[in-house]
Amino acid sequence: MENTIEQPLATVNGAPFNLLPEDLYIPPDALEVFLELFEGPLDLLLYLIRRQNLDIVNIPIAEITRQYIDYIELMGLLNIELAAEYLVMAAVLAEIKSRMLLPRRSDDEEEDDDPRATLIRRLQDYEIIKQAADDLDLLPRMEREHFTADVDTSALAIVQALPDIQLKELILAFQDVLKRVDQTSHHQITKEALSVRERMATILAQLEGENSLLFPQLFIRKEGRPGVVVSFLAILELSKERLIDIIQPEPFAPIRISAARAAEAYC
């Protein structure tokens, strides 16, 4: 990060930016860490209001808006990834500010005509929850204050029935995973011929505990041509994933396959 927040601050829109916003009682070094502590625009706004002990009714919306925008500008300066929510809030504040500047029409009977009302309600709701989260965190809980007292029962020779699974459940579970992946991330889950994957597992199992095996030992003759192809693909795939080593000590010597070894094989 080039912007150390010492004297020569950056330029914002061409204008030199020499001072941190006023009323920002945070040591500049701590600022970056500090800003990341906010859970979102409501949190930041609440902080600004609370820190000055402002009565929200009388908050000079203009003042708060200015501070808020200073903050998000700073976030930009510090290359803090700025969530869209912060910008939306800036727009909301600006809108409120502009509406406050307009003369109020007396025929406007709407109760929540005051544009601050909605914002205040949201801030209140958020602050309640914020406090509730803190309180929840303080509740004595398992693994931290309380520990269950169990005694051993293994000596009693009881066979506990193990949970059952239906094949159907397993497939549905996998389906769910795939669905979720589709929705939420960029993972490419392509369906692969299962048999290659399985063969990869089989080959690894075969190699386990063995120093190395001869290449032909990994093929099962009676499977015929398709089987050979599957095994061969599996070997290539394993090699690509660096799970096995393919070794030919000298030209024309028999090819041997071994489970990939730690660093020594490579250095």
Binding site: D55, L123, L136, M142, H146
Partner: protein, 221 residues
């Protein structure tokens, strides 16, 4: 000099103390027999609680007994009270949580317990705690509701974590476009925080942020 073996039959002592009503000799004999039987039940119940590895309700305890020997629920209640009293001097306590009774180490020993385990107790992020608080206090809520209150989007991994810890479950679906899941807390959530009902959660604090001109002050809702 090793700890003298004290063989004080604690339970029986308490037994005598409990019989309060005066009774004729024969009646007495009956009561004693009855009582001995109860004591045996009590010992079994105690063993069950320690062995179960999960909280047990009275009903579940009852089911452990063969059908013809099942103590009544009332007797089980009494046995639980007696067991709880027996452990009053010990570093354990019999605690009632949402899904039943369990033995746990008293909180005053948490300092040593923390040293017992290599892994630090899990710490939860503010985002997770706020999400959990909204679900706990405002349930049933949809993910959209949570986002409205927090003003930021809720990451799926937080919801996923809460579902996996079994603190939160899907109660149903809201009949609006998209049929979003309605989330609520589970008994396991209450168990984890050592409480029996949602009522025992800390009271919500209401902070004054009103439109009239009263100065800011905090108070209880």
């Amino acid at each position: 000099m090793a700890a003298s073996v004290r063989s004080r039959p604690y339970a029986r002592l308490r037994g005598t103390r409990r019989r309060i009503k005066p009774a004729s000799a024969t009646e007495n004999a009956i009561i004693i027999e009855q009582f001995a039987c109860n004591m045996e039940h009590q010992r079994i119940i105690e063993a069950i609680l320690f062995a179960a590895k999960r909280p047990m309700t009275c009903k579940q305890i009852q089911q452990v007994f063969p059908e013809l020997e099942q103590p009544g629920l009332e007797e089980i209640q009494q046995a639980l009270a007696a067991i709880a009293a027996d452990y009053q001097q010990r570093p354990l306590e019999l605690k009632q949580v949402a899904s039943g009774y369990r033995f746990q180490v008293r909180a005053e020993f948490s300092r040593w317990m923390a040293r017992l385990f290599e892994e630090k107790p899990p710490k939860y992020s503010r985002a997770l705690l706020e999400t959990l608080a909204i679900i706990a206090y405002r349930q049933p809520v949809t993910r959209g509701d949570i986002e409205d209150i927090r003003g930021v989007s809720v990451s799926s991994s937080i919801i996923q974590t809460l579902l996996e810890r079994e603190w939160v479950k899907v109660l149903g679906h809201k009949e609006v476009p998209g049929r979003p899941a309605l989330l609520g807390t589970t008994k396991q959530f209450l168990d984890y925080f050592n409480i029996t009902t949602l009522d025992e959660l800390p009271t919500l604090q209401r902070f004054e942020l009103t439109l009239d001109n009263t100065p800011t002050s905090a108070g209880k809702e």
